[in-house]
């Protein structure tokens, strides 16, 4: 599947675009409960959403700068960790985002209908962690 370098790169770019928005929704939803970065990554990975550290931490900062998250440093297990959770604004925005996602998902389901598309196996360059 997509052994050609150009098509592989194209697939990676498309995959990146497809997942970019979903990651924000997933992180916001997961941070209904407070997590520190490493624990958040493990929690997301445990639910099938593998996310690269170099993507997660800058994204957390961006969401915090946008006012969707709040964070605080706290000591846990004898180490200082930065804990993130949804801010009041995040609580307000998340349902709207989820509504949008559900709407898009339903539309896609309808568009795809009964048509079957062979899914590429998650191997090679396509199974790389989220960038």
């Amino acid at each position: 599947m997509h052994t050609n370098g150009a098509s592989s790169e194209l697939f990676d770019n498309l995959r990146l675009e497809l997942r970019r928005g979903c990651l924000v929704v997933a992180i916001l939803a997961q941070l209904h409960t407070e997590h520190y970065g490493y624990a958040l990554r493990k929690a997301l990975a445990g639910q099938g959403l593998v996310i690269d550290e170099n993507t997660l931490y800058p994204l957390l900062r961006r969401l915090e700068n946008q006012g969707l998250l709040v964070s605080q440093w706290r000591e846990e297990e004898k180490r200082n960790k930065r804990f993130y959770r949804l801010s009041p604004l995040g609580e307000e925005v998340l349902p709207d985002l989820l509504g949008e996602w559900h709407q898009m998902n339903s539309a896609l389901e309808r568009i795809l209908g009964d048509r079957e598309f062979a899914a590429a196996p998650q191997s090679g360059s396509h199974s790389k962690e989220e960038k």
Partner: protein, 333 residues
């Protein structure tokens, strides 16, 4: 001596810190360090032993180079607004191709034709062109970067009207394009001929010793003629490339025609265009020939003025027709 776990991580974090924004350095590095330590601990628990230097280096290598890691924290930066890139490219294309090339050709044509070693002059022209081109690209880029930096919005880009978009070119427009291109070529050729003929020239010598001495008025009109013909050629070229600018071209043509009439006025006021000297002519013959020659030039100049007036009237009619919405012979905006 092998590096310790702490030493390798510290060195890695220090390298990352170097690239980070100052205000956030400590915070980001602390969080990154905590994440790395958590990952190391998890790995050690899975393996059942402390990580050795190679295993730790592998974790850090997988995390990515310090510069790559830090780049994720940097704000997205751009020099030019992507929406302005087509305009940026257009400006550079016009300046570098359609202004500089004819300008340099014109400035260096005279010296290339008259210098003893023309190749040296060609080489100098090329060097000067690239120098000017690099400077221009730099300046244009700075201007566009400033426009983006200060969020300058173009009224025209926001308040556009679909009804004012240029109409789709027709076959007739294509013909007009070729006419404009021919006008541009003629303008450049005329400029080249003028430069070749008049470059630092005060007289023409003929076999037999006769000399045609140019009056001072030719020196006065040398640069205006060049400016006028090049301007006209430039806008003809633009009109052939970008038909929607044909209205601008018409206005410029009218301006050029007015300038041409002014030059004609200067010439006619001077009256004494040339003098003939030398050769085996008597004084009376020389006076007759000089008068005949001056008369010929005078009539030619008047004929040129009539043509310019006709051209100006034609362009005014074109402008009026396109302004009143009638399909003109040229593409309109």
């Amino acid at each position: 001596m092998p590096a310790t776990k702490s030493d390798l991580i510290d060195r890695y974090l220090h390298a990352v810190k170097f690239w980070l924004p100052k205000a956030q350095q400590e915070d980001i590095v602390a969080e990154l360090g905590e994440d790395l330590l958590s990952q190391v601990e998890e790995r050690e628990a899975a393996l059942g032993h402390k990580l050795d230097e190679d295993e730790l280096a592998a974790i850090l290598k997988k995390r990515g180079s310090p510069m790559r890691v830090s780049s994720g924290y940097l704000p997205e930066q751009r020099l030019i607004n992507p929406a302005m890139l087509p305009v940026y490219r257009l400006v550079l294309k016009i300046v570098l191709c359609w202004v500089f090339v004819p300008l340099f050709a014109f400035v260096f044509l005279g010296p290339v034709l008259t210098f003893a070693r023309p190749w040296e002059m060609v080489l100098r022209c090329a060097v000067e062109y690239w120098r000017a081109a690099f400077m221009t690209v730099g300046m244009v880029t700075v201007v566009f970067a400033l426009l983006d930096r200060y969020q300058v919005r173009f009224k025209r880009a926001d308040n556009w009207d679909p009804r004012k978009l240029p109409r789709v070119p027709t076959a007739q427009d294509t013909t007009t394009r070729w006419n404009h291109l021919a006008g541009a070529i003629f303008g450049v050729a005329a400029t080249g001929f003028w430069v070749y003929l008049m470059w630092q020239r005060s007289e023409f010598s003929f076999p037999g010793g006769a000399r045609l001495i140019l009056g001072p008025v030719w020196g006065q009109i040398y640069w205006p003629v060049i400016g006028m013909t090049l301007t006209s050629a430039f806008f003809d070229l633009l009109s052939s490339l970008y038909p929607r600018w044909a209205r601008v071209r018409s206005r410029v043509r009218i301006g050029v025609d007015v300038c041409a009439l002014a030059i004609v006025a200067v010439l006619l006021k001077a009256g004494n265009f040339v003098e003939i000297a030398g050769g085996n002519f008597s004084v009376a013959d020389l006076a007759n020939k000089t008068a005949w020659f001056n008369g010929l030039i005078g009539y030619t100049v008047i004929a040129a003025a009539v043509i310019e007036i006709g051209d100006a009237i034609h362009e005014v009619r074109r402008l009026l027709r396109s302004k009143h919405g009638k399909p003109a012979a040229i593409p309109t905006t």
